[in-house]
């Protein structure tokens, strides 16, 4: 039985801010960038109202935001921040250091295009640029998922088997700014779920002084640290699932790293991440009514990538379309496509697969476009198209 919750009509950003407040971070670094800004603005109100004990650090850049988070996390604090686009790119160096120093920082990213040309709207260019920085990465489809993911992130990041930074992402404007219906846990239930953080090696523990960020480039120790980091993110998959199951029980909202719709007998499947999954389900539902065996597979956790779960889900499917909301210039396809196709390699019978780059810089993802993808999949299965093509969906 799920606990009692309040239903609210609000934006994804406000839901993220609420989840952060309920997690009681000791330090938050704040720097504005659209469309993330309303998260840190909302948090500034909590600070002004005296509702949080958080030390709110209004840094002068995203680079310093992540630098301060690293310092605070190493000091032993629970630490959070939020960013987007150029801000995330500006943090890139620090993202590696946060994971390398095993700082369990929680950060929200409002997914947004990267310049040039400048564009403030949604795509996944920013987050995909950070996909190999050693962070656990969640994608949210809705304001509800943005909230749920944030609360779960705290538990995953601080789990002793993990101790890695976690990014919870939501699509710029689409999820960050539009009013959505969502359910909010009570402060008590949320606090009980996230628990408190007791660091093992804190800089502020002056009785047991520790050195963080030492020089390890001689004698292969750097190599060993990186291997330990890989082991940690691999271990995080089980923790993500366990925390997800616990959260599902508390909230009544099921959680899995991949979430299927109509997958039991699907022949034509779209794989999507983020807000577009909703559009895909809407079209798939209409197709089902017409007798087309359409399915949707949403990937909710992108790092670590759920290879086994994806392969298992699309077993027996005739044709798969992978939607990528970012480019990987010069590669075989978009970042999600590369992962999915890699997951397919070890399968005995592989479905046909096709890649679509769509919605860059906030370009509309209309239902007709999704319909076109399903039409293509039927053609693909009938041998009209060849497999593996890259399609720019909806581009003039």
């Amino acid at each position: 039985m799920a606990v009692e919750q309040k239903t609210v009509a609000t934006t994804g950003n406000i839901m993220v801010a609420e989840a952060m407040r309920q997690s009681a971070p000791d330090v938050m670094a704040a720097y504005p960038i659209t469309p993330q800004t309303t998260i840190v603005e909302e948090y500034a109100k909590y600070v002004a109202q005296g509702r949080v004990h958080t030390e709110y650090v209004t840094v002068e850049s995203e680079h310093s935001a992540m630098s301060a988070c690293i310092g605070a996390s190493a000091a032993g604090a629970r630490v959070m921040t939020a960013t987007s686009s150029q801000g995330l790119a500006y943090m890139w160096e620090q993202l590696h250091i946060a994971s390398g120093l095993r700082c369990p920082i929680v950060m929200a990213n409002a997914n947004r295009a990267l310049a040039a040309p400048i564009n403030i709207h949604c795509d996944h260019s920013d987050i995909m640029g950070a996909r190999d920085t050693g962070w656990v990465i969640y994608f949210a489809e809705t304001a509800q998922e943005a909230y749920d993911n944030t609360l779960m992130s705290v538990r995953v990041a601080e789990h002793p088997d993990v101790m890695l930074p976690v990014m919870t992402t939501l699509d710029g404007f689409i999820t960050t700014h539009t009013i959505d219906r969502a359910r909010l846990l009570s402060d008590e239930d949320a606090a009980k779920f996230v628990g408190t953080y007791t660091p093992e090696h804190a800089l502020l523990d002056t009785d047991n002084p520790t050195s963080h960020g030492n020089f390890a480039s001689l004698g292969g120790t750097y190599f060993e640290f990186k291997k330990a980091q890989r082991n940690a993110i691999d271990r995080s998959m089980e923790v993500i699932k366990n925390v997800g199951a616990e959260f599902a029980e508390l909230s009544g909202r099921p959680f899995d790293v991949v979430e299927g719709w109509g997958m039991d007998d699907a022949e034509y499947v779209i794989i999507a991440i983020g807000s577009t999954a909703g559009n895909c389900r809407h079209v798939a539902r209409e197709l089902r009514a017409k007798g087309v065996a359409a399915g949707v597979l949403k990937i909710r956790v992108f790092r670590p990538f759920p290879f086994t779960e994806v392969a298992e889900a699309i077993k027996g499917v005739k044709a798969v379309a992978v939607l990528d909301r970012s480019e990987s210039f010069g590669a075989e396809g978009g970042p999600v496509f590369l992962e999915v196709r890699s997951a397919l390699y070890d399968m005995e019978t592989r479905p046909l697969v096709i890649n679509y780059i769509y919605g860059l810089g906030g370009a509309d993802v209309k239902l007709e476009l999704i319909q076109q993808v399903y039409d293509d999949l039927v053609d693909l299965a009938d041998g009209v198209h060849e497999s593996g093509r890259l399609v720019y969906l909806g581009a003039r």
Partner: protein, 310 residues
């Protein structure tokens, strides 16, 4: 202010056995600054550079207290975060409200004057209770003596070469101490040659509630092309020639802390250093005068701000 006997009873922040060069000004700077913290526990942050790589080779460390290195340009921002955590955790009751701690960040001139200026300025403006110490050796020494904005006019560096068309660095040195002083924080310029002046300033900086900055002249035998045994002597000449005036800015009041009677010609500071060798050829006589002119200009400027007779 503590005398040398009292200082000698204070705990050392940096132990011997580190791998810095003999005669390195940075280690002298650190030891003097850390002694001034008295018995209060200090968390130290360090920018990437000689000081950091030579003292923290995994699995060893030369730092007796908590230490953090993050990257080259952000020791100020990183220590801001550590200090913020202290406040946040105290407010949460996870650290006793009466616990005292100090926070210090060290960076070389490259990591402070150049790439780290934004993060330093941000930390000073936000008012974190921390001390930032720049050990100024006038170049990127860790990467092999490239010019920084702290490199003096006329000095040789591997990216400010000496040849037919150019005689070392063509621009003058950035005046970082004044820039930071104008943030309205405690700011001082010190030298490893004047230990009493330096430790007094460090004591004040640690005592200030809020940010403080000290810029310390720290010779680098490798980059300055000098003997390791000459570091302190050359730093002293830097002060006596007026190349490096010793002053502090407290509550907006500028004060010369070590009077220099009969300022020596700058050539006495330049002569022992291989990086200025080319200035002493007959065809560069004008350039040598220009160096003196630049030192005089800066001296006059600082003395005016200190309201002293130049």
């Amino acid at each position: 202010m503590a005398n040398i006997k009292e200082l000698s009873h204070n705990p050392e922040g940096l132990t011997g056995g580190h791998r810095l060069c003999a005669g390195c000004g940075a280690s002298i700077t650190v030891r003097q600054v850390m002694l001034a913290a008295g018995g209060t526990p200090v968390v130290t942050g360090c920018a990437t550079g000689c000081l950091e790589v030579s003292t923290t080779i995994y699995p060893y460390t030369s730092w007796t207290g908590p230490f953090i290195h993050n990257a080259f340009e952000n020791s100020a921002a990183t220590v801001s975060g550590v200090e913020a955590a202290f406040k946040g955790l105290q407010r949460a009751g996870k650290i006793p409200a009466d616990k005292q701690m100090k926070f210090v960040a060290f960076g070389g001139d490259g990591g402070t004057y150049d790439i780290g200026l934004q993060s330093l300025s941000g930390a000073m403006e936000r008012g974190h209770d921390m001390v930032y110490v720049c050990y100024d050796n006038g170049a990127y020494m860790n990467t092999g003596i490239q010019r920084s904005s702290a490199t003096p006019f006329g000095a040789w560096a591997t990216t400010a070469e000496v040849g037919k068309a150019q005689q070392g660095k063509v621009q003058r040195r950035k005046d970082l101490t004044s820039i930071i002083a104008d943030h309205g924080v405690y700011a001082a310029q010190a030298s490893i040659s004047h230990w009493k002046d330096l430790t007094n300033k460090a004591e004040k900086a640690f005592a200030v509630k809020g940010p403080a900055f000290i810029n310390v002249l720290s010779p680098c035998p490798r980059g300055w092309r000098t003997l390791p045994s000459a570091s302190v002597e050359i730093a002293k000449l830097g002060v006596q020639t007026g190349f490096w005036p010793l002053f502090e800015v407290e509550d907006g009041h500028w004060r010369q802390t070590v009077k220099v009677m009969n300022r020596k010609p700058v050539t006495e500071f330049l002569k022992p250093q291989g990086r200025f060798k080319h200035l002493f050829t007959p065809e560069n006589a004008e350039l040598l005068e220009a160096v003196q002119g630049e030192v005089d200009r800066y001296w006059d400027y600082i003395m005016r701000r200190c309201d002293c007779e130049a």
